[in-house]
């Protein structure tokens, strides 16, 4: 059987340092980002000019409409716009 002395426990605590705070916060904001994504796709389906602008220059078109591109999963948005 394995014995966990204090030294071993200390090593195991050390084995899981915190992830960078910005990474954690970005992942925690995913529900918000996905809500924005769904909203953008719905608008693009209803408004062909907006869709064309997104396809021509995704990040600029988003900024023009007041979205912050850094908070949106852009690769997935591109994929969804292609379909």
């Amino acid at each position: 059987m394995t014995a966990y002395d204090e030294q071993r426990l200390a090593e195991l605590i050390k084995a899981l340092p915190p992830a960078p705070q910005a990474w954690v916060e970005a992942a925690q904001e995913l529900p918000l980002a996905r809500g924005q994504l769904d909203d953008i796709v719905a608008r693009a389906e209803a408004d062909l000019a907006f869709r064309d602008a997104l396809i021509a220059n995704l990040e600029d078109a988003l900024r023009l409409e007041g979205y912050e591109p850094d908070t949106i999963p852009l690769d997935e948005l591109r994929r969804r716009l292609e379909h």
Binding site: M1, Y4, A10, I13, L16, V24
Partner: protein, 185 residues
Amino acid sequence: MQLASLPDAQIVARCRSGDEDAWRELVSRFSRYVYAICCQAYRLRQEDAEEVFQEVFSRAYQHLGKLRDDEAIRPWIGQLTRRLCIDRLRAGSREEIVDPESMPGGVDDKMETLDEAFAVHEAMAELSENCREILDRFFARDESYQTIGSALDIPSGTIASRISRCLSRLREHFEGRNPEARPSS
């Protein structure tokens, strides 16, 4: 009841019903584990690790509904992270590595250690907040006695003895949760 004290299965169920606070707790609960798999087990570069980290949680969010057993969230996230790390390595960001499973140090051995570490961190949740903070700051965050003393408003000269006491308590909690962890008599 505080979200942090809920078992994994309840957090998963709440996430599935659209509870954004539960999602934040889920990310917080597994972020160290995912980060460690990327950086320690697969030794991804920081920029690759960040992309895999975000992709893991993005897929977890999208596919949480497909999880058959809510209690199995940790192994599910672990497997997902491993698969995405391997994909990332094979995609050529580290071309010198042909077979990620043959990396020096052994990914499986490292995963075993990280699983043990996760269990120890879970046991830490049962300690007092003060003990938990001291142990995490000293060992996981690598903070000095002075930094810890100043952050927690306790004399830095007492930190060493507090660490020792908190480790003893952690050992009791951990062995209580994991009878197989007790030394054989």
